[in-house]
Amino acid sequence: MPTDVERWKSAVYGNEIREHLFEFAEEGWESIPEDEHDAWFERFKWWGLYHQRNGQESYFMMRIGTPNGVLEPGQLRVVGEIADEFARGPGTNPIFGDAYADWTTRQSIQLHWIRLEDVPAIFEKLEENGMSTQQACGDSWRNIVGNPVAGKDAQEVVDAWPVIRELNETFKGDDDHSNLPRKWKVSVTGSADGSGQGDINDLAFEPAYKDVDGDEQVGFNVRVGGGLARNEERFARDIDVWVAPENVSAVAGGLSALFRDYGDRENRYNARIKFLVDEWGPEKVRNVLQDEYVDFEMHTAGRDVREEYTYNTGKGDRNDLIGVHEQKDGNYFVGLNVLVGRMGAEDVLELADLADEYGSGEVRLSQRQNVIVTDVPEENLDDFLAEDLLDDYSPDPSPFMRGSVACTGTEFCSLSIVETKNRQVRFARWLKQNVELPEDVDQFHIHLSGCTASCAQPQIADVSLRGMKTRKDGEPVEALDVGLGGGLGDEPQFARWVTQRVPVDEVPGAIRNLVGRFAENREGEESFREFVARHDDEELDAFVEPEETDYDDPMMHNTKMTWYPYAEDDSMDASPSPADD
């Protein structure tokens, strides 16, 4: 039997949702028939709108898909203006204020508290400026990710940016690929640092060399079926295909059509392509792709550069793109740390000015929720680096600041178990003050996700934190499971969950103790990830040692049972939603 979601999708889905959305916006929230809420909110996702969690009815999260995280000159200002004007709701965040934008782990942008009535005006402004929310959520091609500095990076093997643009233009709004069994996440990377994080995507193109008719060419190897959600983590699997840049679109379209036709539409839990790859094996994926979907003979895989990967590996240079780096053209890109990816609207506007003044006006977003100002000529570097705004968004932050990634959590998300972003800010500030890493360790990644959907990519961090509950002195409190030793690279590794249900106020103490044990027991220059690999789960559990400290957590209670965790009267009954017209 088809699921409700599949039934709704077969009635209305894809581009045509827009007309309905605009009609509802015109007539107001109340005009959505009450017995069709579930169906319409499911469909709105396709146009980037997620209904916020219960207690926040009539407000939406809006996701803007920025391919490869590229914001062309002028676009950052538009995002700041939209955040300032429209992303204001009844709740004030005690750390970030009233209007802000989130840079996400898939190089997208999220705004909150969006009213349906404002959607046409926002879409108009976005579209006038070359941006869109189309397919930012929902069952289709999501925002395409990659190395954010594609086309500029001095470490680049092949420029992936034209390929990403072509894929985006081909598969955004293409009716043949608009209704897939589930989300479809694609990564295209051209640099040798692994910063496109292909291994955790449904479909990954990674740089590789291939001998074609006696001529060594550069193109991409293809992997399929990665993803982190639902305790079912998979790394993408090698299907033994090399493809030239000009054929990426044909192969990617073939795979997305294969997923459309063979993916499981009966059971959404089993729908992602990772499960089809489990069932078929990579060889059958390749064979079906060749026989039914691609009309030229595909090459076998080429020589990859995975050994050179450093991004999110826990060792070597370039675990992230923070700091000052030289571009191919002799200019510089400057990666700035945005703690948990959230920036107040005023700061966004100021950064847009600085990018104009010192660079080309372009900025780019990384998968570590950071922002990169590109095209800064050498003679502008010192003045740019001396700007006050960079005190808060540092190109040279503490390892605990630069290593922090956090998802949305109970503030807005209906799947969440615990509060996340503000908590991670408090954790990072406390750790910076109170914990000393060994001198040569300048990277320490801590990722916090509010539930097993794993939007903050916890399984690929040094320390993975995931939302749970426990009781403390008999009272229910928010808690975190602790995992250790995850990371990407040539041989990616998911974190091992070694300690369960640590009350949130004991987590900073646990991390301090863990770092202490690491410093004491480390062999030579070994990385934290190598240190974890050398110990068994029981030993690691003992290293974690939860402990109360002077860290104070104001959000120990069930923040999901509030209408907004930071409201003075936070009870569901006090909820001001749905908003009055």
Partner: protein
């Protein structure tokens, strides 16, 4: 009178007549020796698996973890609310829930 019951967003919440009524992250206590060895299972709700109605009682089966012993499993049918005159009323889910016997 029919009630529209469904589970949405990967099991994150239960919709009753197109309204979100029960959501993950709640803590439920219930006796169930098949779930785990505790006298009273103390489970954080991580995902809903099935929803149904028995007379006027809305019942669910949910996936979660007992925070006392760490066991993870799916519950039997547990009552979460009642439908009276077409509208949903919560059952007090902070006190002990009693699994229902179904064929």
């Amino acid at each position: 009178m029919t009630v529209a019951l469904r589970i949405l967003d990967d099991g994150a919440w239960v919709s009753v007549n197109d309204d979100r009524k029960v959501s993950v992250s709640e803590l439920w206590r219930f006796p169930d020796p098949e779930f785990c060895g505790c006298d009273l299972t103390d489970m954080v709700v991580e995902g809903f698996v099935e929803v149904g109605v028995d007379g006027r009682t809305i019942e669910v089966r949910a996936y979660g973890q007992c925070i006392a012993c760490g066991a993870s499993a799916t519950t039997k049918w547990l009552p979460v609310g009642r439908v009276v005159d077409g509208s949903f009323h919560d059952i007090d889910r902070e006190s002990v829930l009693t699994p229902t016997v179904r064929e």
